[in-house]
């Protein structure tokens, strides 16, 4: 972990030493002999790299190893248990993990840069591909930021539809976590079951939005379409189906000694550490910190709903599994309430400058045709300003920092993806554990590399 060229002045001082091919040296973990003692302590003890704050007893960590005693093992980026293209470099003493360094960027496609080239109406198509397991949340946070810059309020029904779809998305995302987490700790049948249930939700999403993933359904000004006929029956069928199946999973995994041994006490993270590292979502809650944006900083209409914030105690892989399992139950509870409370009305704002006119109007009205044409070619202009909006995605705080210069495209679009920040908690979780636990720990953090790399 050399600070490459830190002393050189100017801007462009990152001069790769062996600039032939793809030099990636400085991103990798350095050999023990090339790493300073303080940095070793940071990486081993703190890792957390706590300069101050949570204190670490240096005596608890053996820094007397030489480079010959240890081995640096490279895991990924092509590895089935890394959930995409996460690469980890781990220094091992036998089977014990001494240091870990996550290396990311293998899926970077410059979506923040692309976002600056797309109009606000095209934006959701782009952001929905970031965290591809929670696409509706990405669209939602983008739309909310745009609306806050425009200082408009969307109709209540649009917001309720957004909440309904997002909560269903949360269940499907957590179901995928259950599937992959089971797979990673060799509970193979879990993979099949959770995938089966997730399919019912994706089918409903397809019915509503036309697509199973990357929906582009939530847009500035409302949602793309109203819910289809019979949506209520479909949602209630899902709500009736999921909880008994969750009980089955509970029995299948929580009651299984092998699963418990693989997860209990593995990869612990204290609440203090989680806060210092900026970890949010199930990781923060599993360490005993009661923090859920839906309850603590309510947005949309979450303050009208009754639900519990599920909190763990030990911050280990099992708690993270249990938090997510019970969050699905809470989400089903929320969905049932949303079905009850869903109001009638418009599903998008009837503002010709922001949302396209209904298709039928285009045949009758010249003005409607012009508005339609203008919105899809030029887009709508957003007043100058900057805003940060955050919502609770399945993985934690999903934020959108948006700067507008008054044109029809965002001047700067920054998405604070929870996976990107959460991945920093891997090194302290791994420290001192066994290499076999690493797989269970990665899985319990549930990173989505599409969101990490953007």
């Amino acid at each position: 972990m050399s600070s490459n060229g830190e002393d050189a002045p100017g801007v462009d001082e990152v001069v790769p030493t062996g600039a032939i091919g793809t030099f990636e040296g400085a991103q990798e973990m350095d050999d023990r002999s090339d790493t300073s003692a303080t940095e070793l302590l940071r990486q081993q003890g703190a890792v957390l790299r706590l300069a101050e704050g949570v204190s670490v007893d240096p005596g608890a960590f053996n820094t007397e190893f030489t480079a010959d005693d240890t081995m640096i093992l490279n895991l990924g980026p092509q590895h089935p248990s890394t959930h995409g293209v996460l690469r980890l470099m781990m220094e091992l003493d036998g089977e014990t993990v001494l240091r870990t360094k996550p290396i990311v960027g293998y899926l970077h496609t410059g979506m923040e840069k692309t976002g600056e080239e797309l109009t606000y109406i095209q934006g959701p198509t782009n952001v929905t591909r970031m965290d591809y397991l929670a696409p509706l949340f990405n669209e939602c946070v983008f739309s909310m930021a745009t609306e806050q810059l425009l200082e408009i309020e969307v109709p209540p029904r649009a917001t309720w539809i957004r909440m309904l779809m997002c909560e269903l998305n949360r269940v499907s995302s957590h179901l995928l976590f259950m599937a992959t987490n089971g797979l990673d700790v060799a509970a193979l049948s879990m993979m099949l079951y959770a995938w089966r249930e997730r399919e019912t939700i994706l089918s409903f999403m397809e019915k509503v939005t036309g697509l199973r993933m990357n929906h582009n359904f939530i847009r500035p000004g409302g949602v793309a379409a109203d819910l289809p006929d019979g949506w209520r029956d479909d949602v209630i069928a899902i709500c009736d189906l999921i909880p008994p199946r969750l009980d089955t999973y509970d029995e299948l995994l929580t009651g299984q000694p092998v699963f418990l041994q693989r997860t209990e006490g593995v990869g612990t993270l204290s609440g203090e550490e989680a806060i210092a590292l900026g970890a949010t979502g199930p990781i923060l809650r599993s360490s005993g910190v009661t923090w859920d944006l839906r309850r603590d900083m309510p947005y949309q209409y979450y303050d009208q709903l009754e639900f519990d914030v599920v909190v763990g105690k030990y911050g280990d892989a099992f708690d993270r599994y249990a938090v997510r399992l019970n969050e699905m139950r809470e989400s089903v509870r929320i969905i049932r309430q949303i079905v009850e409370l869903m109001p009638a009305g418009d599903y998008r704002l009837q503002d010709k400058k922001v949302t396209p006119p209904p298709r039928a109007r285009i045949d009758q009205s010249m003005e409607a045709l012009i508005h339609h044409f203008k919105i899809f070619t030029e887009g709508f202009k957003v007043p100058e300003g900057e805003v940060y909006v955050a919502i609770e995605s399945p993985r934690g705080e999903l934020g959108c920092y948006m700067v507008s210069n008054g044109s029809a495209k965002p001047y700067r679009l920054h998405i604070r993806d929870p996976s990107f920040v959460n991945i920093q908690s891997l090194p302290p979780m791994m420290r001192g554990g066994l290499i076999a636990d690493a797989v269970a720990i990665i899985s319990s953090v549930d990173p989505v590399m599409g969101g990490v790399d953007r």
Binding site: S3, F23, R49
Partner: protein
């Protein structure tokens, strides 16, 4: 849609309360509190805020204002090309605050927040990688998303967007 219910909603200038927090000018953007710290006072402002109970740094990013220099800033803040934007969160008070620091093009560097908020490690690396702002005191300021041998910082406004090759060479791609 309000970010923090405890904060008053409104537009710039209409809020009561002090105009300075830890020596930083205060402005309001769509009902959100924004502090404008200078590069010199940046670390003091941040540690002051941390002592105030802002215990989590949720976001840190950089913005390149090359193409939009005439943005609205409170009096007394000199606009520079780059801005480092930090979002803090207080779990106890359920409040957010945003800190914006002007960073000149000639010397794009600020102090790292790593000592205060270790969670900024990856975010500062990202800001360095994509925007080329350096963070003094960062333990490992290497590129994080782009390959190590990449030239330039892609999110800068003078860094062009890649072009998609089109079948008909005469037709100019919009990107």
């Amino acid at each position: 849609m309000s970010e923090a219910p405890s904060e008053p909603m409104g537009t710039a200038g209409s809020e009561p309360g002090p105009d300075l927090v830890h020596g930083a000018l205060v402005s309001w953007s769509r009902g959100q509190q924004v502090l404008h710290a200078t590069r010199e006072s940046y670390l003091d402002v941040m540690s002051g805020l941390r002592d105030d109970g802002y215990d989590m740094c949720v976001d840190l990013c950089a913005v390149d204002y090359l193409a939009h220099p005439a943005r609205s800033l409170p009096d007394g803040v000199t606009a520079e090309r780059f801005e480092v934007v930090v979002d803090l969160l207080s779990l106890q008070q359920r409040k957010r605050v945003r800190v914006r620091v002007q960073v000149p093009e000639s010397d794009p560097r600020v102090v790292s927040l790593f000592g205060l908020y270790p969670g900024t490690e990856a975010m500062e690396r990202e800001a360095f990688d994509l925007m080329g702002v350096r963070f003094d005191g960062h333990p490992d300021l290497s590129r994080i998303l782009m390959p190590e041998d990449w030239e330039g910082h892609p999110l800068r406004k003078d860094y062009s967007v890649g072009r998609v090759p089109v079948q008909f060479k005469a037709a100019r791609s919009t990107r």
